[in-house]
Amino acid sequence: MAVVNFFKNFGKAVAKGDIWVKLSLLWTGSGYAGRKQYVRALLSTILEAMILIFSIGFAPQYISKFDNLGDVQKEAKYNPITMKNEVNDYDNSFLILLMSVIILVVWFASILWWMNNVIRAYELQKMKQNGKHINSFMEDCKDMLNHSFHKTLLTLPIIGIILFTVVPILVMVFIAFTNYDQQHLSPTHLFTWVSLDNFKRLGSFGNNAYFGYTFRKILLWTFIWSFFATATNYIGGILMALLINNKKTRAPRLWRTLFIITIAVPQFVSLLLVRNFFANHGIANAFFEGIGFTSWLKEAGFITTNYIPFLSQPGWAHVMIILINIWVGVPYQMLIATGVLMNIPTELQESARIDGATSRQVFWSITMPYMFVVTGPQLVTDFVRNINNFNVIFLLTETVYKTTNQKMANAKGAETDLLVTWLFSLTQENYNYKMASAIGIVIFIISAIFTLLAFTRVNSAEREEMFS
């Protein structure tokens, strides 16, 4: 609505404005100059001049090459006299892309500012017609520190967000539509647009469609992992909190502290230790071999190796990762659940007991519904966070897990990879930025859909009132 109104106001201003407003379409300062706001007029004019200089003096060298991202390849010749390389004026595709995005963002912002400026000029015209007071520059400055202080405060952070969040994301989105990979590495080589090719490969079927095959396998595991990682931690955390908060439990603080120690130890340390613990020739395997369990498994046909492949074969590794994640994740959930449990109004539970409800009934009809309502949004964010849970997967499987699925290996993936760890190995080890960007967009869409769906459905704030 706000967007429509903005355009309506602009149209109205252009149509009904007097000469000063109409002139402000070309000279942005005129609207202020006509109402005797000379300093503002000067500032607007300077900004307009800067935008024009930027657009004419700086932007063309990059934006003119935006259509094919450059076509002059780097050539260097060594000069033995200066002992330096003489390099031609080559195009750097990545720089062209980055600068073009920045230029487009600046232009977009400039147009908004220009339209807003016309609207503002019309407002001033109306104020003058109605005989209202028009601020002097000093009054404007004071206003920026009082009435409009939020604008002053937000200006710099917004510029920061645009430069350091919006621009990089836009660049990544654009790369997904190029052939930026190891064969086309900037700055030595050029890359160019390939429209939807990368997305077609992610969705492709067939015998040699390694990327499509790997993408579907990894996507499925990402969802399975995310579901189980979230569910097991959630349930485990609540059960643990109930257990520790139970009146019959002795020394609850001791137990709570013990579990929190797993939080205190960084995941890098604890996960790498566990990884070594369950390695093919690690302590766990030595133990199971010692008691003869390994040879029993082998005779029974469960394994083909002389060790138990806890973290090195599909199935085994999948289950182990989820189990280990319970160990590192439950303490967090336990803390949250403890807080929520203590918040449940005791009169609810007591009145239920007086009415003759059993402990189980109290748990299922009062405790759990309350938990769900309060922690619903957190459950959703946990799910989305687990889709991108890089740490656990990477630290547990990196260098230990070698896929035996040849089709996945041909696309540099593995059965235990999440989309995000696959993306990591594509960029860090294979410089395949184009596919990584395409996968990045897919991850973003998935995360966005789940977050939006969940937050529109799970509306805890309203339903919490039922309890109080």
């Binding site: 060594y78 002992m83 035996t404």
Partner: protein, 437 residues
């Protein structure tokens, strides 16, 4: 009071933005100096270089840098910054941002194709560069090719041009064993080795889930790998050389089926040596210290054993790997960087590197010296080197062959199912030969 708070908030927002902008501009306009402050005039040219080498080599590199500055200090005003970057990961760091990478860096020879393809390496054997080398170091690229081992030079050569200076010739693997348990006959063949290990309750370890190690079996049986002009990898392992690819795989499957064989993960070998359960292990000079402390007085090393293919004994091949020193083509001082790379790889400095770090030299004169010949690990390496192959492959070689090795290591295919083995070989070859992206 209220105003003070607002001012504080404003100041905070300001510093945040300014510091953020500061970071941004710092990284974006670093490559502005391409003007030539030419030599020739009386004033000394200012030269700032960065050198990357392995963490463990920093001390010895500092000595070489000092002697370089002492040698050339009166011709230019040289400052050199040392950085630690493992040879095994140099490629990843350099390619991540080639303009920000060091002027001179050491890397393992298998990375040279990707580095050249990305335009990160300066060509050495051009007429112009020879002029510089001749004027300052009194040698040309021809001398460098003649002074270093043939394999090392060919590993530093891409499409007939020399792209790096050979630094060491010890990046290969051979067999360490415990001579208090195993006799020389035992280590001659894999079958005898595994039988002896089993009899003594010990194990024999080798990495199979890596195309660098498992190529040993295929090279031994006459198979090859290579690089095509378009950057894709050529590989014939699914066809037949002296034997068929299936027969080689069956030979490997027979080894991995033996309970005395321990297929260690890539990078896990050192841990396994330290665990004390091994009596023999396939590894390289980097594990010499670990092996000598684990095997004690029995510490010995030799060439790789033979293994059984279709009833015959076939000598295992190996990858002859080298460490090279390259010059960043984006360096602002390419000439001086080349001179530095030449300096740290010349005869004296290869000798120094061996004396201080026991790194096997690629320089022929140093390699034939008595000291080097007396080194157990390096002697084994040179015994294996006649079966060594310079492995020239593209980026798609590694993942499919690692997976294939893992399948063999875990008995993922049935030894007697020749069709399944052939299908796995075909799939692996399809992945390796796929176009690079």
């Amino acid at each position: 009071m209220r105003n003070a708070k607002k001012l504080l908030a404003l100041a905070l927002a300001g510093t945040m933005a300014v510091s953020a902008v500061g970071c941004g501009s710092g990284s974006s306009d670093k490559k502005s100096s391409n003007g030539s402050n030419g030599s020739g005039s009386g004033e000394k040219q200012k030269v700032a270089l960065t050198l990357w080498g392995a963490e463990e080599d920093q001390a010895v590199l500092q000595k070489m840098v000092d002697s370089f500055i002492a040698q050339y200090g009166d011709m230019a005003d040289i400052t050199i910054t040392l950085g630690a970057e493992s040879e095994s990961t140099a490629k990843d760091t350099v390619l991540a941002d080639v303009e920000a990478a060091a002027d001179v860096f050491a890397f393992a020879s298998d990375q040279i194709n990707d580095l050249v393809a990305a335009g990160a390496l300066q060509k050495i054997d051009t007429e112009d560069m020879d002029q510089t080398l001749n004027a300052y170091a009194k040698k040309t690229s021809e001398n460098i090719k003649a002074d270093n081992a043939e394999g090392a030079v060919s590993a530093a050569t891409v499409d007939g041009s020399l792209y790096a200076f050979p630094m060491s010739a010890d990046n290969g693997y051979f067999l360490y064993y415990d001579s208090s348990i195993l006799s020389e006959d035992d280590v001659a063949s894999m079958d005898a080795l595994l039988a002896a290990a089993e009899a003594n309750g010990k194990k024999v370890a080798m990495t199979l889930a890596s195309g660098w190690y498992n190529a040993s079996f295929f090279y031994g049986a006459g198979f090859t790998t290579g690089l095509n002009a378009d950057g894709t990898t050529a590989i014939d392992w699914n066809k037949s050389a002296d034997y068929t690819g299936v027969e080689v795989c069956q030979g490997i499957l027979d080894i991995t089926a033996n309970p005395a064989f321990l297929p260690a993960g890539d990078g896990d070998i050192s841990n396994q040596i330290a665990s004390g359960q091994l009596c023999a292990v396939v590894s390289g000079t980097w594990d010499a210290t670990a092996a000598s402390s684990a095997f004690g007085d029995g510490y010995a090393a030799t060439k790789l054993p033979t293994y059984t293919v279709a009833g015959d004994q076939v000598q295992m091949g190996s990858v002859a790997g080298f460490k090279l020193v390259g010059v960043n083509a984006y360096s602002d001082n390419v000439g001086w960087a080349t001179l530095l790379a030449e300096w740290i790889t010349n005869e004296e400095n290869q000798k120094l590197r061996f004396q201080e770090r026991e790194i096997g030299p690629s320089n022929n004169a140093v390699a034939s010296s008595d000291e080097v010949q007396a080194n157990i690990a390096l002697a084994a390496l040179s015994a294996q080197s006649s079966y060594g192959v310079v492995q020239i492959v593209g980026g798609n070689f590694w993942d499919p062959t690692a997976t294939f090795g893992e399948i063999l290591a875990t008995q993922g295919v049935d030894r007697n199912d020749a069709d399944a083995i052939q299908a796995a070989l075909d799939e692996m070859v399809a992945g390796v030969t796929a176009s690079v992206e």
